[in-house]
């Protein structure tokens, strides 16, 4: 419902366009938690090889969308289609689960909880390869080394347990593990948010390289507009479960239309920036969250 209130920039992710080319197609996606509407009638497409960001603050519903697309959460209503296959209902049977795994993968935010503490990176990647590709263990070992190369991990780092790796290295393992299934779409759920600035730059460069090398599409979930600009072509801006603006990332960030997007854009510190009190915003959108209880 929020969508219709906002002029839709036409671009590759315009839901009114043809869905024939779409890798991921989301229509009327809604999620209720009890009486709380976390995601309200959201639609978008990602073209093959495209890169879309969902940007918003806590409570915007962006992570809930990621969980529904990847299959960790069932939508209340709406459809999610990848490569022509519906994935909005739970998978039936091992074969379908595996096929869905080969279509969409995810890299989480916290590098300290996203790896099994008792499993080396090589073993984690090998487990995925055995599931999706099979083949001899020698073949798989070769592929593990290739994936390690792709994400910049050497043999010693691949064989180390997660506790011996830094946050950036763990995130590289998580990326390699996700890519091992050769997914069409990789969801990056705040995947660089927990990293130090200097490490974040390395991983952002890596993600750009991976996309260029493999042609994988990205769905980036982020609160960080600069990161969004760095690795996505298109963006949708969400506020309280509703899409408030969408379009090409560059256009939306350079010429934000919706009041909320303007506030978001103006809140990012840049050289010469001064912080402004919310009360100084004459056209501020309804941000009464100040009085709300946020679940964090």
């Amino acid at each position: 419902m929020g969508e219709s209130a906002v002029p839709l920039a036409s671009g590759p992710s315009d839901p009114s366009g043809s869905t024939g080319e779409a890798l991921l197609s989301v229509r009327g996606l809604t999620k209720h938690f009890g009486t709380n509407v976390a995601v309200d009638d959201v639609s978008f497409d990602i073209a093959r090889g495209g890169s879309l960001a969902i940007v918003g603050e806590s409570g915007s519903g962006k992570t809930t969308i990621a969980k529904m697309v990847v299959g960790l959460l069932a939508p209340t209503s709406g459809t999610i289609t990848t490569c022509g296959h519906d994935r909005s209902t739970p998978a039936r049977g091992a074969a379908e689960r595996r096929r869905r795994g080969a279509e969409v993968q995810i890299v989480f935010q916290d590098p300290y909880s996203s790896l099994d503490p008792r499993q080396s990176g090589a073993s984690a990647i090998d487990e995925v390869l055995a599931l999706h590709r099979g083949g001899s263990s020698a073949d798989r070992a070769l592929r593990v080394a290739e994936l390690g190369d792709l994400v910049g991990l050497d043999d010693r780092q691949l064989r180390a347990l997660p506790k011996a790796l830094s946050g950036g290295q763990r995130q590289r393992v998580a990326i390699a593990r996700a890519l091992a299934a050769e997914p069409q779409l990789l969801i990056l759920d705040e995947s660089v948010a927990a990293l130090d600035v200097s490490i974040q730059a390395q991983v952002l460069n890596l993600l750009a390289d991976v996309r260029a090398d493999t042609g994988v599409s990205y769905l980036l979930i982020s609160h960080d507009l600069a990161v969004v600009r760095q690795i996505t072509d298109d963006v949708i801006v969400m506020h309280r479960g509703v899409v408030v603006e969408r379009g090409a990332t560059r256009d939306v960030l350079d010429h934000p239309q919706a009041a909320y997007t303007r506030l978001l854009r103006a809140s990012v510190p840049t050289p010469g920036w001064r912080p402004r009190r919310r009360s100084e915003w004459t056209d501020a959108p309804d941000l009464s969250d100040v009085s709300d209880v946020s679940a964090g």
Binding site: E57, S58, S166, G167, G168, Q169, D196, V197, S198, I199, Q200, A201, Q202, L204, N205, A208, H223, D224, L225, A226, V227, R229, Q230, R250, L253, D254, L263, L264, R265, A266, S267, V268, P269, T270, P271, W273, R274, P275, R276, R277, R278, S279, E280, L287, D289, V290, S291, D292, V293, S294, G296
Partner: protein, 334 residues
Amino acid sequence: MSAADGRLLDVASLAVQLPVGGELRTVLHDVSFHIGPGEALGLVGESGSGKSMTARAIARLLPAGAVTTGTISYAGGDVTALKGAALRSYRAEVAMVFQDPRAHINPVRRIGDFMTEALRTNHGVSKADAVARAIGLLAEVGIADGQRRLEQHPHELSGGLLQRVMIASALLTEPRLLLADEPTTALDVTTQADVMAILDDLRRERGMALLFITHDLELASAVCDRTAVMYAGQLVEQRTSSQLHDDPLHPYTAGLVGARPRIDGDVTRLAAIPGRPRSAYEAPAGCAFADRCEHVEDACGEARPPLEPIEDGFVRCRRATELRGMLRAGGRHG
């Protein structure tokens, strides 16, 4: 006397070691800076740089067994030697705000109890006066219905609101120096802007000094007169905030600026600093940044360079003068 020469807080050659696994591990090494009355200093660094530990040393909140050398003096007095009543009155003058407000507030007590407890027990203020003061300060941080808020429990407040409560309660004792340790890192970006604006206004109105700790160079520049950059437990550069961004003198500062993606322009490839941030105990023997620096020479590994004064600040790089002006260009392509 220190206060007379325009310094409220003076940190000189501060070094801190913490006991880890039965041995002492260096977390801070030769940290020196000063803050004048009403002045704001930013302290910027990545994980393990020692920025939070510096604030904890000043607030006398280091863990048991920590070994501190060097001096921290506040208004001319030695902070490390304070005890009892003197320490309590120091803490009334030097307040601290933390990154995670929820971890620093008793979840089962009301906001009102939390805000007025110190005033009533340590400063003998009557209950009515303490409550009136709390409501007044809540209004100053943009919380209009203070009376109602005082009756609420922490879980009923959002993160941004709770951080405002923490700032208000830090200001109850009218401190002259506020130590703010990543106070907005856990908040949404629009809330961050709001909280920073409030913090900045309050500081200016009250002439309060601020030590602002953050990982965000731009955020520090926006609210601080001077900004210091820390790496591996040492200060590597300290400048007026605008200079730091436009004319960095230390390769690490330039690296931090170049590594951050931009919101207002397109960068095809980020100038990432290779390797990962070092903690003080694992840094190379000479210059701590030598193993990640693209301008490193053999001589950089020989001795730890001192923090040397340069025009409007200090820098810890033996090639600073020679590299000046080349760092931005050098860091941008890549």
